[in-house]
């Protein structure tokens, strides 16, 4: 039987500690939309998405109301568009980007992901055209998110794609310079991209997935921080236990919402992503958890160790709470989306080199980092290559989402609004990696790939 303390604890988590479901993401396969005629493809894509996701937002809002738990985003992810484009005689990916935007507006979702290409081993038909079109696609749409997978533990790193993505990220920023360079905030470059990730901007619906599926991403850094604050000066074993218990509760709520959404929409339940996703709201920050654990400021020596403990405890607590776990699962460290990270970056305590180290022990990678507008494409490519190498060697997903702040220098700010937040331009090492990047070719798959 329920007791009053448990009930009040849940209410406090939601009302005061920003506990929420970050996203319900419907994955939709577009494989059956393929055709040699691009206009037919666009028509089929629009029909399929608007049919499948017709009630997604409505059901999300119903659940939000009945369970009293905020569901911040309702989103859609689709089959990587480069695969669909492969069948078209005329490779005109922008038409598909605009179709996705139209479908997102009709369904009322916050984002649609899957303007993607998977090129970890090389480029197939449609891949180059899609990648080439990303800057313009992101500039002419508001809801479409793009991602490119350039490496994996099994395949190594496609350095030709890495070189190309440096240019694409820069071009995306240039085309949206009048809107605080928002283009690259909707573009993720992955290594080991998961096929069932509900989080943007990197969500896409993998080819091994069912026709339609519901994935849920939870949130709750504020709840973890509050629990640690109440616990006081306990040792780190107790800290880990407390985080596990809290993560269990957060994830149970995600599991409940995922099952309920799946039942009401008549769509199979895919996974719950055991995530700790911050928002720019004060009190909803991963950096503040690390500081609560005993650091003066996020970015100080000790940050990587604290984050490793946090990330591991979140997974251990969450994994028993859900019947299927997947996606990115782990703590996120997007700089502009986290009040504590923004503060640490402004004071100079948090630097890109430290963030890179942190990505070796947590979910994803260098995320939402503003870099100087004059950063050459080769340096962006080299940042991507470093991050991909960490992912490839450690058998984990890593990603890069950096925003070149066109016309701005270190210390100036970019502001994207909403969940994407705002933050300072951070310094990057300016020594040139150009010769390395221009070599091209592939970094071979590491020994870790040979597991049979």
């Amino acid at each position: 039987m329920l007791n009053a303390r448990d009930i009040l604890e849940t209410i406090t988590m939601i009302q005061e500690e920003n506990l929420d479901i970050r996203t319900i993401t419907m994955g939709i396969s577009l494989l059956d939309c393929c055709d040699s005629d691009i206009d037919t493809v666009c028509r089929r894509i629009y029909e399929k998405i608007t049919t499948r996701a017709a009630h997604l937002v409505e059901v999300g809002e119903q659940i939000e109301k009945e369970y009293g738990i905020p569901i911040i985003n309702k989103r859609i992810s689709v089959t990587p568009i480069a695969i669909i484009l492969a069948a078209c005689e005329k490779k005109e990916p922008l038409k598909i980007a605009k179709t996705l935007e139209k479908a997102a507006l009709t369904c009322g979702v916050n984002f649609i992901g899957g303007y993607s290409a998977l090129v970890q081993k090389g480029f197939a038909a449609g891949d180059r055209e899609l990648i080439e079109s990303i800057p313009e696609a992101l500039a002419c749409t508001d809801h479409v998110c793009a991602s490119v997978n350039i490496g994996s533990t099994k395949s190594g790193i496609n350095m030709d794609a890495v070189a190309e993505m440096g240019r694409i990220v820069r071009r995306s920023a240039e085309l949206t310079a009048d809107r605080d360079c928002i283009g690259p905030a909707k573009l993720v470059v992955f290594c080991n991209a998961p096929e069932d990730n509900p989080f943007m901007a990197g969500a896409f619906h993998g080819v091994g997935e069912p026709d339609c599926v519901i994935n849920v991403g939870v949130s709750g850094p504020g709840v973890v921080r509050a629990a640690l604050a109440k616990a006081g000066d306990c040792d780190l074993t107790a800290v880990a236990d407390l985080i596990k218990r809290t993560a269990f509760k957060i994830t149970r709520m995600g599991q409940l919402v995922a099952k309920e959404a799946s039942r009401r929409l008549g769509v199979p339940f895919g996974i719950v992503d055991l995530s700790l996703a911050p928002t720019p709201a004060v009190g909803d920050s991963v950096a503040y958890i690390l500081e609560e654990m005993g650091l003066e400021c996020c970015g100080a020596h000790g940050t990587t160790a604290a984050l490793a403990l946090l990330n591991d405890a979140v997974k251990k607590g969450g994994v028993m709470a859900s019947s299927h776990v997947g996606g990115l699962s782990g703590a996120f460290i997007p700089v502009t989306e986290d009040a504590g990270m923004i503060h640490a970056a402004r004071t100079g305590c948090l630097r890109i080199e430290k963030l890179e180290a942190m990505t070796a022990v947590c979910s994803v990678g260098l995320d939402m980092i503003n870099i100087p507008g004059d950063t050459p494409a080769e340096i962006i490519s080299a940042i991507i290559a470093d991050e991909a190498a960490i992912g490839m060697i450690n058998n984990k997903a890593t990603a890069v989402r950096v925003i070149p702040a066109i016309g701005k220098q270190v210390g100036e700010e970019l502001s994207f609004g909403g969940l994407l937040g705002s933050g300072p331009v951070m310094p990057v090492n300016t020594a040139s990696p150009a010769r390395l990047i221009h070599r091209g070719g592939r970094i071979p798959a590491p020994l870790q790939a040979l597991r049979n």
Binding site: L2, I7, Q15, Q62, E66, G68
Partner: protein
């Protein structure tokens, strides 16, 4: 289907009566009531049966929230499953 209504705020005369009146109006049966004082704040928790409710759940919850606003109290109405899944293995 059961729901949990929580009322948190400054104690005053007639809270229980006003909340129960809305329940009665919508054929919502009150199963259990507990009250406690939490950090000088009044906290009342009601378990109700909404199976026979004559309005959609969302509307019922909105009416109680609106009542809370007029009384300066915070009233939340939530499906009991959220508490069950969070606090029971």
């Amino acid at each position: 289907m059961r729901a949990v209504i929580t009322v948190i705020g400054k104690d005053m005369v007639g809270i229980l009566a006003k909340v129960s009146a809305i329940c009665a109006e919508h054929e919502v049966n009150v199963l259990e009531v507990t009250q406690s004082i939490l950090q000088d704040m009044f906290a009342m928790i009601m378990m109700v049966d909404i199976e026979k409710s004559n309005v959609p759940f969302g509307q019922f919850a909105d009416e109680l929230t609106a009542l809370g606003e007029t009384l300066g109290l915070s009233i939340h109405t939530m499906h009991e499953d959220i508490f069950n899944s969070m606090h029971q293995i």
